[in-house]
Point group: C2
């Protein structure tokens, strides 16, 4: 048979169908490969497609299932990896021409964890060059287009990951998130994405940009899918200085919460300061009403004195300086292989005086304390994920794209983006839930309750 | 009467004598003022002596006690403050000519806490210029001399605080500690000193050097004195980004532990890498034997791959950069008021590229993880406080003075220095106990058990 309606279920639904014997992993994988063959010539998502290995992995999953030796809900589920995450035997370019020849000898920790859980890895997907930017206009692999509108950006830097999930090329993808690079494409592409608390998921085997703010995070079609993925991805890695935390003892899968009674939620006000588009504000107010209708107590909060732009820039400065250290050899020895834009950003980082950097770090530390104080009696804070919807590649890049996502990176806290329906321009919007440290289970439960109640159909209708 | 033998008791002992009515606060204060009058012409400890205010405060304490309204163990206890800690109405020079005219309008948080506990503040004491150095050779106020040998440094940067306690000019003094500036002078002067976990004591109202590593910490003649002082100094300060922690619910006063049974202690090996003087190693081995005799289980530990000098320099680089931000106006507008040495250090920080700084920060983060792993099953780690004893002002400054103390600042952990007797050159040595985060009570208990068992008499015999 093979060709299935991939949008009939989310990952969790397909996992259930696999468990019930209603479908084979091989059919899921073939369906994804067919969709890729049909649409990727237009969307430009994959940089490396490992179709043969995927077919073998899918057969192995089916064989295990026949023998009653299945590895869990991800066994046989097709997934994709951002091109800065090591997959043994394939290049990990990080979207950089200077790295396109570097073939990974080992899997990244997250790749190995997915593989050990039986996930079928389809290959590597496009990203913004060096993960330092959010359009996904890549000088090496070209533009990746938004499945909801093929003239528009999917967001970035994990744009390929967002587009792959939205286009039904896979059921989940890994991205990385330094100031919002998982959640911005999740919002722009109409899928769900999460960045966990700093230290929860090992970044070992991922090409770094900023070791201070980098996180690996999954994207999928629903928040319960994210829970299943976190169950596999989260874990302490003693070999990695950035990995500091054991996962929650409880599963991250939020189930199907029908009520948010007893939950105290901040609703971020003062969005005008972050220059949020009017229709995103309208969509956000509607989402907040749905959440209030679920029984959550909603409290307006402002991050008093928090300067969204200044702090996002502070985060960017640190990323540029740490990126200049990471890519020092490329910058010094083969700058012609970097785009002018990347050369400029890394060059800025390389030349920045340390006194400027420590001022940025001090600003961030002060903002962190301010937000921590705001959180004192709240379970989470909700806000839009991005101030606007995806934009046309020919339009100027909005400078404030990551103003609302950066907050979670600057404060080391978890944040999930869940689809918030479509704006009147027909493009997806995202709702972001920012949690307490190690509050992943709590924010997934809140996001899941909203997702079930709102029941948005985010399928990109023009993609057959 | 007045003149008492100030060395007859530690702070806790004098507090008991006050409580019993055996002595008056005024007599204690007069005794200290007499000692200052007798010896400070030689030692050069005080930069501002507030004798009149101290006499009033001592009378007030005596009056409270007569009425049964005493404020606790510090009520009536004479103390001194390092000259970078605000005391309303007196200059807070931070040892800098450029700041000598800046009179504090308010008390620092720690000053206010001492005052509210009834402590009698005698004045401000000398320090290394800008707290950036450890000889206490101050260009504005001159050298402070070690009470144990008047040709030698008291250490620094809180050299005046160490000398004031050792000379019996007061029963306790506050210092500040960025890479060891409380514990180095404690060790060199034969007194006890503690740096708490980062965030435990508010630094608000203290002239900063490095907001990343600065801590306020007390010096006194015994570790139980330090416990009484922490009981007053520790506390969350919502107005201060660096203050993050409430104090322990238990008192810090360690009592008189006769046994260390059940305690698992690391003994730092590999001291040769930190170039520890042979006789300090011998003294340390003797101390470790005493601790083992108290029933503690002693486990040799090495901070595998920890490069003592490289990491102390990494901390110094951060201090120089942050110091260049703090003192930017002085450096730019009145550099002639800074010593050549300070100009060079701050100038280095001002000119340093940010990429160098983030490399230092990354090295420190990696070392922190390494040490955290070492700590997994230990209550604390013991090591010498300094690799050598105090040195002659005419000798070159040993570069590795702070190699062993910096560890606690770089890892945000508490560390106490307790006198370890005299080396054969007649100068004091210090034993350092490095604890787990917020393990102040535990390290004070260990240090106190050692102190009681070792029973070193650290009185500077040549000072009458």
């Amino acid at each position: 048979m093979a060709s299935l309606d991939i949008f009939a279920h989310d990952l969790a639904g397909w996992a259930r169908a696999l468990a019930a014997g209603d479908v084979r992993a091989s059919d899921l994988t073939e369906t994804c490969l067919e969709r890729i063959a049909r649409h990727d010539g237009t969307l430009h998502v994959f940089t490396t497609l490992t179709a043969d290995a995927a077919r073998v992995a899918a057969s192995d999953a089916d064989r295990r299932r026949t023998k009653g030796e299945t590895l869990g809900p991800l066994d046989g589920i097709p997934v994709a990896l951002k091109d800065n995450i090591d997959l043994a035997g394939t290049p990990a370019s990080a979207g950089m021409a200077s790295r396109a020849h570097i073939v990974s000898t080992d899997d990244a920790v997250v790749t190995a964890r997915l593989r050990a859980a039986g996930a079928v890895i389809l290959g590597k997907v496009n990203m913004h060059e060096a993960a330092l930017g959010a359009t996904n206009e890549n000088p090496l692999y070209g533009r990746t287009y938004n499945p909801h509108r093929a003239s528009h950006t999917p967001g970035g830097s994990s744009g390929g990951s967002g587009a792959a999930v939205a286009a039904g090329f896979c059921l989940a993808a890994l991205g990385t998130d330094t100031l919002g690079s998982v959640r911005v494409p999740a919002a722009y592409c109409g899928v769900a994405g999460i960045k966990g608390t700093r230290g929860l998921i090992s970044p070992r085997g991922v090409v770094p940009l900023s070791w201070t703010f980098d996180h690996v995070g999954p994207l999928a079609r629903s928040t319960r899918d994210l829970g299943l993925l976190l169950d596999v991805l989260a874990g302490f890695d003693p070999a990695c200085a950035e990995s500091t935390a054991a996962p929650s003892a409880e599963p991250y899968d939020p189930g199907a919460p029908a009520s948010l009674a007893g939950i105290r939620l901040g609703r971020l006000d003062g969005l005008a300061e972050a220059v949020v588009d009017l229709e995103v504000v309208v969509g956000f107010n509607r989402a907040a009403e749905i959440i209030a209708g679920l029984g959550a107590e909603i409290v307006p909060v402002t991050f008093d004195g928090y300067d969204f732009g200044r702090l996002r820039r502070a985060g960017l400065i640190i990323s540029e300086v740490e990126g200049a250290v990471v890519h020092a050899a490329d910058l010094a020895e083969r700058p012609e292989q970097l785009s002018d834009e990347l050369q400029a950003m890394l060059g800025y980082g390389a030349a920045l005086p340390a006194v400027r950097l420590v001022r940025a770090q001090r600003d961030i530390a002060a903002a962190r304390e301010r937000i921590m104080a705001t959180f004192a009696d709240l379970d989470a804070i909700v806000m839009p994920t991005t101030p606007q919807t995806a934009f046309d590649f020919s339009d100027p890049v909005p400078v404030n794209q990551a103003d609302l996502t950066a907050i979670a990176n600057l404060t080391d806290r978890p944040a999930v983006s869940v689809p918030m329906g479509f704006a009147s321009n027909g493009l997806p919007m995202g709702l972001q839930v920012l949690g307490r440290a190690f509050g992943e289970a709590a924010i997934l439960r809140i996001a899941r309750a909203y997702e079930l109640a709102a029941d948005h159909d985010m399928r990109p209708l023009h993609l057959s």
